[in-house]
């Protein structure tokens, strides 16, 4: 059952691809002028079209499927290389943190929407709950900060359970309505009273692990490092951990059950699946991930304000999930780069980003609903591609 004849060509192809992609992202993050960005985008479009013609994409997908361990290790190395390359740039590192942490929240949305079919239009609200929880706990309690992050996730999950009853209804529009209402309610509620800082928001203390304050930065003699390096490393660690968990979840009986519940509830119930249980688990787990991502993000950015967690922001998070390919967690980082970083690079679309990405999602839903990287069939363990 296990393939042992893995040609070194596959490994080389993966390494080459990793190097190219890392370089590309480096250039993208480095680009100063909008013209440069425009050239990069055009280059990417051409490269994708050409590689599709040459069948290179399929070879790449096969290579990744055969060597998931190597693919992951290379991705991690690439990310570390990028962090090292931008070690002195506050701005780029902050953006990387945003991409990693929003992708973490989107991992949660994928479990809810992609696997279980549970619509959640309050993703940004649960992210924000995490940030606020961090703000309060870090400023007013002695709870060690790693625990603060964990507790923030739990708080988000618990608050989300209030919405459980309508979310469990079969038809998606009930969950949609209730989560939309909740998202707006959350933002309005925070804005309206001063308990949690009102419209100005709250300051979030910087992260302290074992007494070491990340805001102080890491001092390496001779090298000037932004204090965001530590945060970027931490964000990467969190993302990698949640990614591994969600990947394991998809390739397990849990992921299978969720998929069956999503695709056919009637048949699922006649084979014993507890519909409600799986939806609740998906909804709660997803909100938990959003909460921990939000709490770390609060510490990274140093403050939290209701204006960052609007309904439009929830829709932006959903655009990332759809653009990347619904149900395919490998598509989240590329999609997050497009949705979060591109508007920063192309300043002129910054104003229009909600409009543009909403329109983009509509176009995707009409013409390529499976997204940039369509979800593949479930392969529980490598070497199962029966040939």
């Amino acid at each position: 059952m296990r393939q042992t004849n893995k040609s070194p060509r596959g490994s080389l192809a993966l390494i080459a691809a990793a190097v190219v992609l890392t370089l590309y992202v480096w250039m993208f993050l480095h680009a100063e002028s909008q013209a440069a960005v425009g050239v990069l985008i055009a280059a990417a479009a051409i490269a994708v079209a050409v590689s599709r013609k040459l069948g290179a994409t399929r070879t790449m997908e096969a290579a990744v499927a055969e060597r998931p361990g190597l693919a992951r290790a290379l991705s991690l190395l690439g990310a570390l290389a990028l962090i090292a390359a931008f070690h002195d740039s506050h701005f780029v590192l902050l953006m990387l943190c945003a991409v990693l942490l929003f992708s973490t929240a989107c991992l949660g949305l994928t479990v809810q929407f992609g696997y279980s079919g549970v619509a959640n239009f309050a993703g940004a609200a649960f992210f924000g709950i995490g940030s606020y929880a961090a703000a309060v706990m870090a400023a007013h309690t002695q709870i060690p900060h790693p625990l603060v992050i964990l507790f923030s996730g739990l708080i988000a999950a618990i608050i989300g359970s209030v919405l459980i009853t309508p979310v469990l209804r079969t038809r998606g529009h009930y969950a949609a309505l209730v989560t939309i209402a909740f998202g707006i309610l959350f933002k309005t509620f925070i804005e309206v009273n001063d308990v949690l800082g009102g419209p100005q928001g709250l300051q979030v203390p910087g992260m302290k692990i074992f007494g070491v304050a990340l805001n102080d930065g890491i001092a390496i003699p001779g090298v000037e490092m932004s204090f965001y390096v530590a945060y970027a490393l931490l964000s990467l660690a969190v993302f990698a951990l949640v990614y591994a968990l969600v990947s394991a979840l998809e390739r397990s009986w849990i992921g299978l059950s969720m998929d069956v519940v999503r695709t056919d509830e009637t048949a699922a119930s006649t084979f014993g699946l507890h519909i409600a249980r799986w939806k609740v688990i998906a909804f709660t787990t997803g909100n938990f991930f959003a909460g921990i991502a939000g709490s770390l993000y609060g510490m990274v950015s140093g403050f939290v304000a209701p204006n960052n967690f609007t309904f439009a922001d929830s829709l932006l998070m959903l655009s990332i999930v759809i653009l990347g390919g619904l149900g395919n967690i490998a598509g989240l980082i590329p999609a997050a780069l497009i949705v979060l970083v591109l508007p920063e690079k192309l300043q002129f679309i910054q104003e229009y980003r909600f409009l543009l990405f909403a329109a983009l999602v509509i176009i995707i839903l009409l013409f390529r609903p499976q997204g940039l990287l369509p979800r593949k069939t479930r392969i529980f363990f490598r070497g199962e591609t029966s040939k």
């Binding site: 397990s252 119930s269 006649t270 084979f271």
Partner: protein
């Protein structure tokens, strides 16, 4: 209640608004038998399956499985009592793989804990590989070409193969009662023969598997079933061996209309 009866149906009535789909139905399914459930379209056969598996709640009457009334139980509970089914209009998760669709049939015996699935991957892999073997064994009987295509999405397969996959899914949980709803729809005679032989083969390995078969293909009924029940307008109009019911005047009228 006779100890030979796995299922006892008493005055079962199912009303949908003004439509009475099952009308005080009385029948039984004996332990270990293959029962043919016949009747013209709309006579209530699939409705009976839906009530029996808990998808509809009967308006009145009872269905006793081993003495316990099934009415009011959830589909999940009824599945755990050992009842598995196929659907008239094939219900598979088309975007999922053959393996995914079949293995879910044994949901009640799988381990679903978060810890087991996420953190104890070695143990999970062991259970997974056991299931791959079981699914392969079933497929070797029903559709050997599928064994090498275990991880392809179901939507790429023909309707016939999909029906076979559905039967495999129902057999995965080693049920006591197998409900087949027109499994041979769209199949040729040969394919139908093959399917029935495969089902019988598997049944031999499973102690006392009882089967209720809704079919329109009379040759199949004749060859495979030991006993038949004929429904019309939600009522039983005849019962007996194939020869007996085909000779029954009521049955002939139901299918062919009144003699002019």
């Amino acid at each position: 209640m006779s100890p030979m009866n796995l299922i006892e149906v008493e005055n079962l009535t199912m009303r949908f608004g003004g439509l009475t789909a099952l009308d005080a139905l009385n029948m039984s399914v004996r332990q270990g038998e293959i029962l043919g459930l016949l009747g013209p379209n709309g006579s209530g056969k699939t409705t009976f399956f839906n009530v029996l598996t808990g998808l509809y709640r009967a308006s009145s009457g009872s269905i006793r499985l081993d003495g316990a009334d099934v009415i009011g139980k959830t589909p999940q509970e009824i599945y755990r009592s050992g009842v598995a089914r196929t659907f008239q209009r094939s219900r598979l998760s088309l975007s999922l793989t053959v393996f995914d669709n079949i293995v879910i049939g044994d949901y009640q015996h799988m381990q679903h804990g978060l810890l087991f699935n996420l953190l104890r991957r070695k143990a999970f892999r062991a259970e997974y590989e056991q299931y791959v073997e079981k699914v392969r064994d079933l497929l070797k009987i029903f559709s050997p070409p599928l064994v090498s295509r275990l991880f392809e999405p179901v939507e790429t397969f023909t309707m016939i193969d999909r029906r076979r996959i559905e039967v495999c899914r129902a057999l995965m949980s080693q049920p006591r009662l197998l409900l087949l709803d027109e499994p041979s729809a769209g199949m040729t005679h040969d394919e139908t023969d093959e399917l029935m032989q495969d089902i019988l083969q598997v049944r031999d390995r499973m102690n006392k598997l009882s089967v209720v078969l809704i079919e329109h293909e009379m040759n199949v009924i004749e060859r495979v079933t030991e006993r038949c029940v004929v429904l019309n307008y939600g009522r039983k109009i005849a019962e007996g061996s194939y020869a007996e019911i085909t000779a029954d005047a009521n049955v002939q009228t139901a299918y062919l209309g009144e003699a002019v």
